[in-house]
């Protein structure tokens, strides 16, 4: 009797499903080695929520193992990478994506390194140009200084005297 009740309860169990969040699968169901490879790839893009900056693919935590299993299951059902990432994002927010999206404040993460690189490039070019021009200036300045120096003038006179 108890066993029957337990079985009936098991049959009724229904956890929230990805379909409620991102609709039906839009890809081809995967299996075997291809499934494992894609599961690993997508797991490297999802942040483990209980770790410090680790992907679920690299984390030994049980939470990450549950999430990895969910990724594998969704791929086997034919969900695409975008759908899977979107499902996790709808539960955890953009925090869960290790590669932030190019939108809002996150756009700075993509733009700032390029701007910093461009600024560094301009700085190096400007400096290099100044350094190129510098030896001629220094030589001219040295010649002028030598003409004004009374000691050097005297030495020159002594040397040039027959």
């Amino acid at each position: 009797m108890i066993a029957t009740l337990f079985l009936l309860a098991l049959m009724q169990i229904k956890a929230p499903d990805a379909e409620q969040f991102v609709g039906p699968p839009q890809g081809t169901p995967l299996a075997g080695a291809q499934l494992e490879r894609r599961a690993m790839e997508i797991s490297s893009e999802i942040r483990c929520p209980v770790c410090q900056g680790l992907a679920i693919g690299d984390s030994p935590s049980q939470m990450a193992a549950n999430m990895k299993e969910q990724v594998r299951e969704l791929l086997a059902r034919g969900y695409t990478e975008n759908q899977i990432l979107s499902y996790f994002e709808k539960s955890y927010g953009q925090f869960v994506l290790l590669k932030p999206k190019f939108q809002g404040v996150n756009a700075f993460v993509w733009i700032l390194p390029v701007l910093a690189l461009a600024a560094g490039f301009v700085l190096v070019i400007t400096k290099a140009k100044k350094l190129e021009a510098a030896p001629a200036k220094i030589a001219a300045a040295t010649d002028e200084a030598a003409d004004d120096d009374p000691y050097l003038t005297r030495v020159r006179e002594m040397v040039e005297k027959p």
Binding site: Q12, A15, P16, Q20, P49, V50, S91, Y92
Partner: protein, 171 residues
């Protein structure tokens, strides 16, 4: 040129100080839930001990407090008496515990030792926790009578914090 270098330096240092001040005050584990204001993901899970199932949809019409916890979680020990006491004092509010990454016997022992006043459901594969964006335990979701998540609290609840969040579900 030196003045320009100084200005650029000041701007860079100011930006770093701003980011540090903005970031250091925050809990690095805190996640702003995108589920606030959205319908609570539906579930039907088995209650530990009774073997009966509880369907979230069937609880519509009254505020629901969903508490994710585990027997291996220290702060959950601390929080449990508060939840049990409030569940007894607030008969019009439905409390539901969801345990993940745990086993029936450990949960039964925990509840026998520390008391129980509401159904404790088993999330065997952690799917429900994932759908709710649970990062660590304990985490508590406050659902209004219409079935929308109105608040999420991370960490052990006190009675004051519980009531403060519950008020959002009663508005």
């Amino acid at each position: 040129m030196n003045r320009n270098v100084l200005i650029i330096g000041i701007v860079i240092v100011a930006a770093i100080v701003f980011v540090l001040f903005a970031g250091l005050g925050k809990d690095p584990q805190h996640i702003d839930s995108p589920l606030i204001g959205r319908p609570a993901p539906p579930f039907t899970l088995r209650a530990v001990g009774t073997g009966q199932t509880v369907d979230l949809e069937s609880l519509r019409g009254k505020p629901v407090i969903v508490n994710f916890w585990a027997t291996w979680c220290g702060p959950c020990f601390e929080e449990h008496p508060t939840l049990v006491a409030n569940a007894r004092n607030l008969p019009n509010v439905q409390f539901v515990g969801i345990v993940f990454n745990d086993t029936d016997d450990k949960i039964m022992r925990f509840l026998a030792e520390r008391g129980s006043a509401y159904p404790t459901l088993l999330d065997a594969n952690g799917k429900t926790a994932i759908a709710y964006g649970v990062g660590g335990v304990p985490e508590t979701f406050f659902i209004n009578p219409a079935g929308k998540i109105v608040a999420k609290f991370e960490g052990p609840l006190s009675t004051e914090l519980l009531q403060e969040n519950l008020e959002k579900a009663l508005r």
